[in-house]
Structure formats: C-alpha cells, structure tokens
Symmetry: C2
Subunit: 508 residues, 2 copies
C-alpha cells in the first residue's frame, strides 16, 4: 500500500491559501455544531518521523476554540501506565460528548515505534491489534467520530529533514538515535506500518494517508478531510433525529462527491505510474519464449507441491487483460488451470452474497484460477453505477481483504493485476477495434459509456488499490501502454511469486 | 457458562403438544413469508454427542415445505475439501435469498470435534476463530438470518444415552470410539465448547443453548426460538421497506417480551441454584477468622508479585453485597485496595462511553479494586428501564467480555459475584430494614419498585450470567439466603483464585 502512494503531490501557495481561507472558518463552525449536537471527536496522527505531524496538528487546531479540544502526546509508557492494561491511558482520555481530542501518536504507538524499538513483545503485539480493533469499534458504535491520519514521506525526504534538524543546535535534540535507525532501516519499519494499516483499516475507522512531501498539500488535505468527515457526521446525526421524529425536516442528500473544491486531494496511486515504459518487439519475443518455458516448468512444481494460485485481472477497458491472460495460459497445462470470465451476475448469483460466485471457483491445491475481472467489481462498477449501497461498497474493502487473507493462509498465491493505460491510449485502441472487422466484437456502446466516467473510475480505482493492496495479496500495477512490456511484466511477476512461494514450501 | 446451565428443565407431553400445535403452523407460514421477502436463513446445530441434534432437526423441518430448505451434514473434511480454504465448503452451500439451509454440525466442527480429535492444529485453530467471525459477519451484514443452537446434556445423561445406543445392534454403529472418549473426558471437551461459545457469541449471531435432557423441552424451545427470530427478521425487513418508502404502513412495534405463550423457555442459571445452603454461626466465626488471616497474607503477596485484582459485586437488593465486601476489606491493607460504589452516572459520566468510568477505576498492578455494583448495570437496570436502546445492551455483552479479557490478558484476576437470594428472603430483609431504625436508610421506595420487576430482572440476569461468564472472568453465583454461608464462599473464592494465580506467576 504505502510504497504505491504517489508522494510527489504538491500545491501552490496561492491555491493553498484560497483553500484554507475557505476551510478554516468551516472547521470553526463545525466544532461549534458538533458541540451543539454532542458529537465527540478524536483525531489521531500517526506516521513516519519528521513527516510533520506537529505542523499538521498546529494547522488543525488553529481555527478551533481552545476550550473545546485537548491535544495529547503519546510518549513511551510511564512506569505508572505500564501497571495498567495497555488501553487504560487512552480510555481515560476519550473526549466527552461535544469535545475534540487530538493525539500526536496514539494507541498505535504500541504496534509501530514501540514494536520497532523492541518495547512491545510478540505476544503483546497480537493482543494489541485485537484490542485496538475492539476499542475503535466500541467507541464508534457509541457515536465517536474517529479520524485517523497517516503522515507519509519517502526515505530520502526523511533523511534530508533529519539532517536539517541535526544541523541546528536548537533542533538537534529532537532527533533521537532511534529516529536515525528507523530512517536507515526504512523498509523494515515501513513493513510494520503496512501491516498496521492492513489490520486496522476498518470501515468504521478508515485510515487517511497524507502525502507529506509538500507541507501545504498535506495540511490542506488534512483540513479538507476533517471538514468533510464532520459534515457527514452532522448530516448523519440530523438524519437520525429525523428518523426518531425529533425534528421534522427532510434529511439532506449526502454529498458523496470528492472534496476539495475541484482540487483533487485524493491519495493517488495511478498518478505516479510511469506509462512510458516500453519494450521492442524482438526483445519481447525472446523474453516471452524464455518466460513461458519457465512458467511451464513451474506449473509442474506447483502441482507437485500442491500450491494453489489465484490471479485476478482488472484494468481499463482495452487495457490488455485478454492478451496478458493468453500469454500465461499458452504456457500452462490445460488440466491444471481454469480461466473464469466475470460478467454481470446471473439471477442465481444475484440471489447470493456477492462473494459466493468467486468462492465457488477458487482453485484446489496445485491448480491455478485466473479471473478476467473479479470480486473487485463491487468497489468499481457496482459503486459507480449504484448497484450496491455506499455502506456495502465501503464494507467490501475489508471483506475482500479477509477473503484474500483466508486464501493466503491456506497456502494460496494471490496476485491482482491492474492493467493501466491512459485515456489517449484507450481511445486509440477503441478506434482500432471499431475499424477492424475482426475486432469489432470487442467494443460495445457500454465501453464508450464507461469511458465517459473515466474520472469517477480513477477515484474508485485509486481507493481500491490503496485499501486492498496487502502483503499477503498485493496489487501489481502493470504499465500497459506497451502491450509487449505489459505481458512480460505479468509473466515475470507470476514467475517470481511462484519461485518465492516454492522456496518457502520446500524449506518446510 | 455451560456448567452453570440448569439441565433439569422439563415439559409435560400435553404442554408440549399445545405449544407445538401453535408454533408449527407459524413456522410454516414464516417460511413462506421469508421466501416472499427474499430473506435467506441458516440454522446450525452444534453441541454434545447424543444430545439429540437429529431429532431437533426433524422437528424443525417437519412443518417446512421441502422445496424451500436443504439439510447438510458436516462430516470430517474430505480429501477434496482439504484442498480448499476451510470455509470453501460452507461458502458454496450458503442458501440463496428466500431459502433455508440447516447444518447438522457446521464450520464449528473445526474448533470442536476436529480440535478434540487432533485433526485441527494449534495454528489452524487460531485462524479458524477469526475466519468464523468474519464469515458470520459478512453473511449477516448481507441480510442472512443466522440461528445458532448448542445442544447441551450432562456427562451422566450422555453416558446413559451412549450405552443405550450401544446395547442395540441397530444403533451401536452410530457410536464411535471418539464419542466414548469425549464422554469419558467430558470436562476437557466441555472446556473447548466453552471457549468456542465465548469467542463466537456475537450480537449479530448469538448462541442459543438448548437444555436437551428432556427432548420435548428442547424441541419446543428450539421451535420457539426459530419462530421468534424469523418474526423479528420479517418485522425488521418491513421496517426497512417503510424507511425506503417502498411501502407506507407503520412498522409494527417490536415485541421484546419472552417467547413461549407464558411458558418460560429461557435458558436459566438461577433456577438451578440451591438456596438451602447454610452455615452455623460457630463454624462461620471459626472459618471467617481463618480465611481473613489467609487473605491478609495473600494481599502482601499480590503486592510483591504485582498482581492486580478486580472484584465486581452484583445481586438482588438486600442480597448481602455490603456485608460480603466488608468481610473482605476487614482483612486487607487499606493502602492496597479501593471500594468503588457504583450509583447512577453523573452528568460527566453520562457524557462519556458507559465503560469510561470503570476504566478510570481499574487497579494498578498489585492493587485490588472492589466494585459495589458495576458495568453490568448496562444489561440489567439500563436494559429494563430503557436507559439504553435494545441494540446497545445487546452489544454490551460482547463489549464487556472484551474489556474483561483485556484486564485478564494484562494479568489481572477478574471475578464477578452474583449474590443470590429468593423473593421471600428479600421480603424478610426489606421488612427487617424498615422496622429497624438503624437500617432504615438502607431501604427506599426504589427498592420496592425494583422488587416489583423481579421477573424481568431474572430474565436479564440469566442472560447476563450466560453471556458473560467466561474462562478468564467467571461469574460466581453465591447462594446468599444464609449470610454466613455467602460471606465464607466469597472469601474462599477470592483466596482460591489468588492462590492459583500466584502459583502461575511464580512458575514464570
């Protein structure tokens, strides 16, 4: 998840000022409205060292009435705190109804910094994740609004900032030996953060990633999210009151559009993808032959060691899913794989849970199931076309992660490919299909209709890639403007994953 | 939980017939109504061997249209099934909307029989509990009605039935060696069942205990529960349609009363309690002196080994909480304990999550917190007086279990006492208080009002004792008609728990 985030997002000073001039008075109003409505709010800031959590908190509280909030800094447990259950110090700090509590680091400290520093034992770690989940569920069930921010910067940027801090006596004390160690071992620490995000991204308390390379961008995005979440909470509160007939007006229609006054503040994966990657025909042919031979050999080993594989293909229309799948299956023994094209659900499928039809088609040990489109329809087409409710698609991220984790725990290799092309390339391919009689069947009215919703899809895809790329079932983004490049990347990815898995299995 | 259930519940043949003549046509109607409303239903039967699951299933399906349901028997995994993730064989069998699936043993097999038989590994066990929780959440979130029954009999009754089966050639084949082993090691197997019930009793899929000593009673109760749950599901479905303005009638008021046409079918703990237990004054004095001395010594050890203790006292008004607490504290060093009397929440407490005020008062390591009344007010007085919503008190069982588990994981001893007297004894004590000027302050109008709601409280208490008595934080029911007996039992229980814990701690 984190390594996929585009950290180059920026915002001009002027744009920033315009946006903040709009948002800060709103925030100020919202604090009063939440107090009135007796809604308690917790905002927590986690993330990498030197990402700028302090600055973010300053920007958050600037427009707030100081009588209505409190900021807590979570350091390592004191001797007194260690003598109580881990969550005691947070339970005792939860805000009363109508107040705001801001945490600079929070209960996540135990599974992040304290884990890295060896303060948290393996046993404590497992309990901690369960206890955090139940804590956040209990609070939000009771009406708490819980906003979770993760401040993210690159290793290089972090190093630069730490060096800058160290270079000045006035700030050098702020940098600890452990900060430097976490920078040096950035990847190892990032993996802990990944695991934390995977295990605690709940629909009732989702994580928000802040790209903190540019401080203006990060502050604007943070403020925008707080404003938007509080607005939703108030709208929900009002709707509940209407339901209970305490007030008699109609509930407002919820605004599900992107926030930000037209400025796109959503965390993006796709924006950072380099689509110029390409491959010459000659090299493609050579590589293809070599890779397919290798895949064929591995297929036998998969069977021998009883390792199942699930490959899911998603991507833009005309992104090259079919071609990539073909280059895979050409190399496989037909008795050992099945391709499942996923279309609109049948009546029988509609009469079941949306995951049922996929469960039916998961491979048995030693076999490969390839899905041409998949369960991710729930958070793309079903979301965009309104085939399911907002509640349903928001819940789906977690449901899908749970399902894929179960596959992985069973021993299955799970990889999801996003075949990525840009809008121009899609148009070229659509035109080509329409002009080529042999390919006309591949293009329909619906493809053009979907194309018109490109921006909506991009938002949905970005959120999907972020919330469902996990260590046990990663998303692989395939730069597919070049078909040759794309097919080779898919083959290489599959081969690498199988080789790694077989190595593990043989060790046991 | 299970060892507390009163297994002597019985029902006369005539009573049974009257009840079933009423319930079975209802069930038949409800099946059609659920089909109409497209509500899918799963009913699962788990429990001890020879408890009569087969007979229960026969009674369930008797009034049903055979085109609308299917019965599945869950045996040990086949070779084919082992080659898929554990839940695959259940996902593929979930009913489509409007149909009913009945499982004779289910996904719980993995954490019960298969665990006992050593088929399930330690690692698989942990995953299985998580996967079961997510499976049931995903299904019920999607609108599945999931009814879970646990068929319970005593070791003695089970032995009798197994012997009876073995004595006849026609039925002997049904008894396996493992069945006999589970009877012999009844307590060990029961503990596995206890753990399963603790970890999977969710508000969205609660367990129903069937006392199976008497077959009529068990069948009647099972049918009554199915009827009542389906009626609720239909009412909810109708209310949702009203909300969406698909239909325009008022939703029916939900019937939250006890089912069963006046016959009490609720699982009872209290009904089985022997209140005749008593203790002579002389013996009491001797024991008291001895026990208090021992407790005093242990208090020092608690401090030395940094073991915290939480004792919660609940019980009928005039049940003797105060007296029992006094006999404890007399023996304790005042620097090492605190008594927290729990009254109606203050304004500040009301402005927080209901558990907040208890979290604030948990002891630090080495100290003892004694609660005179406790967080269980949520599922007693708040439930009965309507101070919280049905949804809230139903959720509370799980929330409270989570909180107590966190205390236990931190190393805390957690014991809850229910001071139990009968209605006559309460009246005697109330009268005595009213007539004795020194005790008049102890009795108020409210006590009499509560007494008038005895039956409602009894229902709530029975459910509370069942759903929140756990291996890590057991309920101890104190037979308190005799104050001497009660005080000694409390002291002995606390001493035994501390000794056991200190033994554990010293081993480490």
């Amino acid at each position: 998840m984190l390594e996929k985030v585009d950290l180059n997002r920026k915002m001009g000073k002027k744009e920033y000022k315009t946006l903040m001039d709009d948002l800060q008075p709103k925030l100020s109003y919202l604090q009063r409205a939440c107090k009135e409505a007796k809604i308690p709010v917790i905002v927590i800031f986690e993330g990498l060292g030197a990402a700028g959590k302090g600055t973010l908190i300053n920007h958050l509280i600037e427009p707030l009435d100081p009588r209505g909030f409190q900021v807590y800094t979570t350091a390592v447990e004191t001797k007194e705190e260690r003598m109580k259950p881990f969550l005691w110090r947070f339970w005792t700090k939860i805000p009363s109804k109508g107040r705001i509590a801001v945490f600079d680091r929070s209960w996540y400290r135990r599974v992040l910094v304290d884990r890295f520093d060896g303060v948290t034992s393996k046993e404590q770690l497992d309990y901690a994740f369960e206890e955090i989940a139940s804590f956040e569920k209990q609070l939000t069930d009771d009406g708490m609004v819980l906003i979770k921010f993760f401040a993210h910067i690159s290793q290089k940027e972090q190093k630069k900032r730490l060096e800058h801090l160290c270079s000045d006596k006035k700030t050098a004390w702020r940098v600890t030996k452990d900060d430097l160690k976490r920078n040096k071992e950035y990847d190892r620490y990032l993996t802990m953060n990944e695991e934390m995000l995977e295990r605690t991204d709940f629909e009732y308390a989702p994580w928000n990633i802040l790209e903190c390379t540019d401080r203006e961008y990060a502050s604007a995005k943070m403020t925008e999210i707080v404003v938007s979440v509080l607005e939703q909470a108030l709208a929900h509160h009002k709707a509940e009151k209407v339901k209970k007939q305490e007030i008699s007006v109609e509930p407002e229609t919820q605004n599900d559009a992107q926030p930000g006054n037209g400025i796109n503040l959503a965390t993006s994966v796709l924006a950072g993808v380099d689509l110029s990657k390409t491959l010459e025909k000659e090299e493609y042919k050579k590589k293809l032959a070599h890779l397919q031979k290798r895949l064929g050999e591995l297929h036998n080993e998969l069977y021998k060691y009883r390792v199942p594989v699930v490959l899911a293909f998603e991507g833009w229309d005309a992104g090259g899913k079919g071609g990539a799948i073909k280059r895979l299956t050409q190399a496989l023994d037909p008795r050992g794989y099945a391709v499942h094209p996923v279309a609109s659900p049948t009546e029988e499928e509609k009469a079941h849970h949306y995951l049922w039809r996929f469960w039916r088609n998961f491979p048995k040990d030693g076999h490969i199931s390839i899905f041409d489109r998949s369960w991710y329809g729930r958070v793309m087409v079903e979301r965009i076309e309104g085939f399911c409710s907002t509640e349903e698609w928001k819940r789906a991220y977690h449901e899908i992660n749970e399902m894929e984790e179960q596959l992985a725990l069973h021993g299955c290799i799970v990889i999801k490919f996003w075949m990525h092309i840009d809008k121009d390339e899609q148009e070229r391919r659509f035109q080509e299909r329409q002009e080529n009689p042999a390919k006309q069947w591949k293009i329909t009215e619906e493809d053009w209709r979907n194309r018109a919703k490109w921006d909506q899809y991009e938002t949905a895809v970005d959120e999907m890639l972020l919330r469902t790329s996990t260590t046990y079932a990663p998303w692989v983004i395939v730069e597919a403007n070049s078909k040759y490049y794309a097919r080779v990347k898919v083959l290489e990815t599959v081969i690498n994953a199988i080789e790694a898995k077989l190595n593990d299995v043989k060790k046991k």
